[in-house]
């Protein structure tokens, strides 16, 4: 089906795009329709993704092909099912076991990432050279002052008064420069997204209609 020389899929795509864009003017039934459809379909999409990409290849298929060889997979399955015990008052506490395992593991993983990848790494990097030469030394000093003043801004054990207050104020200026700069830098990305949509509407949808 190609009404006006454009595939029906493109028509649907364009219609839904316009429905969402209409929200900029105000909330309206078209947006509400698209929003509800979006909520439903996206959840359905993830049901498909989870079944197809996680449960089938990592759980069902191994169990079906070689049950005893993969019998340990029953452990995560049991943990997954335990999440639902929350709704049965007598065994509700078992749901917390699944949660405890899930949270515990990731907390451990990310703890090391923070301490190793973030703290050690960034600290090492703050050891800048004061002998870089010329203007580079000055820039390195600025970086050093910036890191220290921001860290002092995040210092909770003392009231920010006097010298501490001044340094922490400097930290705020560094933060403001960073936020302003990041904001300004990002505008670009956001416009790119809009461009992608507009270019679809103009080049993929409207142009073929006009030329047909």
């Amino acid at each position: 089906m190609h009404p006006f020389g454009v595939p029906i899929g493109v028509w649907i795509n364009a219609f839904l795009t316009l429905c969402i864009l209409s929200f900029l003017y105000k909330d309206n039934p078209f947006f509400r329709f698209a929003e509800s459809l979006f909520a439903g379909m996206s959840l359905g999409y993830y049901i498909g993704i989870v079944t197809e990409n996680t449960l089938r290849p990592n759980l069902f298929r191994p169990l079906a092909q070689n049950f005893w060889g993969n019998v340990l997979l029953l452990i995560p399955m049991a943990l997954g099912i335990m999440l639902y015990f929350r709704y049965i008052p007598s065994v509700a506490w078992l749901a917390r076991i699944a949660l405890a395992v899930y949270i515990g593991y990731y907390v451990g993983v990310y703890l090391m990432q923070k301490l190793h990848g973030d703290i050690l790494f960034q600290s090492r990097d703050t050891i800048v050279s004061l002998r870089a030469g010329g203007v580079d030394t000055l820039w390195n000093i600025i970086v050093m002052v910036g890191v220290f003043s921001v860290l002092i801004y995040f210092y909770f054990s003392a009231e920010h008064k006097g010298a501490l207050g001044k340094v922490s104020k400097l930290g705020i200026y560094f933060l403001m420069i960073s936020f302003g700069a990041s904001f300004g830098y990002t505008i670009m990305a956001r416009i790119s997204l809009l461009m992608g949509r507009f270019s679809f509407l103009v080049n993929t949808w409207l142009r073929p209609i006009i030329s047909s």
């Binding site: 003017y25 990848g117 960034q122 990097d125 990002t186 790119s192 461009m195 992608g196 103009v202």
Partner: protein, 289 residues
């Protein structure tokens, strides 16, 4: 006075002007100049020293929502690598759509060159598990990807036979949204010492600058501007690239055209900020009287 009204102008007027500013260059491109910056040159110059004996891994770590920014980047980098005959291994770590991005871009660019699959380049496809496969490739790429994206066994491919792990790879380039590019920089570079460059959306670029400064990354392409700078470097250096980007259907998709839209909308937003501040000071002055 009406200054108050002007200050709290209906946001829909801003929306309308932004929309018009974005539409005009799409309907009729303008062509404004581009100046390459150091973080982009960092990656470009590195690749410019590589040749047929070298290998580069590109990780497609983005989904459809970041296409407009990262597709031109992927195309430009792939073209550069293929022009220099560097061998390319493509992987995908991002679960939602990374692999289809890889297929799309590789299909589009590889047909412009005379390449042999499995020898000059290979698409290993998606691997679940985030950091786990990334780390495991430090030992053996083949073990992580026993089959390529289409299920063909990789042990028969000369490229995978020769490129065992990160030791045989000159640069890993992650085209990333969100956190995966960071993992490459702070996990894989830190653990295996392989050079990492990241092409990211403009929004994550500021955070990546910290990694760039610390030497965890050798290059950084931020958003469409980074891509357009890379295109510019490529077009200036290689006549075959100039020819490629000269084709009208490629020009339309290029980051350089995208920059036209960027420029106009940026100017509109800056004009609004200046207007807002002018009104604000005018209001303050009138209130002081």
């Amino acid at each position: 006075m009406d200054i108050q009204k002007l200050l709290y102008i209906d946001r829909r007027i801003i929306y309308l002007l932004v929309a018009i500013g974005a539409l005009i260059p799409i309907i009729r491109p303008i062509g404004l100049p581009v100046v390459p910056t150091a973080p982009v040159k960092g990656l470009f110059n590195k690749i410019d020293t590589l040749g047929p004996d070298d290998a580069v891994m590109i990780s497609f770590d983005y989904g459809p929502s970041s296409e407009p920014e990262l597709n031109p980047m992927a195309a430009a980098i792939l073209r550069h690598l293929f022009i220099r005959k560097v061998r390319v291994l493509v992987v995908a770590i991002f679960p939602l759509g990374g692999v289809s991005m890889a297929i799309q871009q590789l299909e589009r660019v590889s047909q412009e060159f005379d390449l042999q699959y499995g020898v000059d380049y290979v698409n290993l496809g998606y691997k679940d598990g985030g950091q786990a496969p990334m780390k495991a490739m430090g030992v053996s790429i083949h073990d992580v990807f026993p089959a390529d994206v289409d299920g063909r066994p990789t042990d028969e491919m000369s490229l995978i036979q020769q490129v065992v792990n990160y030791d045989d790879i000159d640069v890993v380039i992650s085209l990333a949204t969100g956190v995966i590019g960071e993992w490459w920089a702070n996990l894989i570079n830190a653990q295996f010492g392989v050079d990492v460059a990241v092409g990211c959306t403009a929004v994550s670029a500021p955070k990546y600058y910290a990694y760039l400064r610390s030497g965890q990354m050798i290059g950084l392409l931020g958003g469409l501007k980074g891509a357009s700078e890379y295109e510019k470097l490529l077009i200036d250096r290689y006549p075959e690239a100039r020819e490629l980007y000269g084709k009208p259907e490629e020009a339309k998709k290029s980051a350089i055209t995208g920059m036209d839209v960027q420029s106009i909308v940026h100017v509109i937003i800056i004009a609004f900020i200046i207007f807002g501040n002018t009104m604000y000071f005018a209001l303050r002055r009138s209130q002081r009287r």
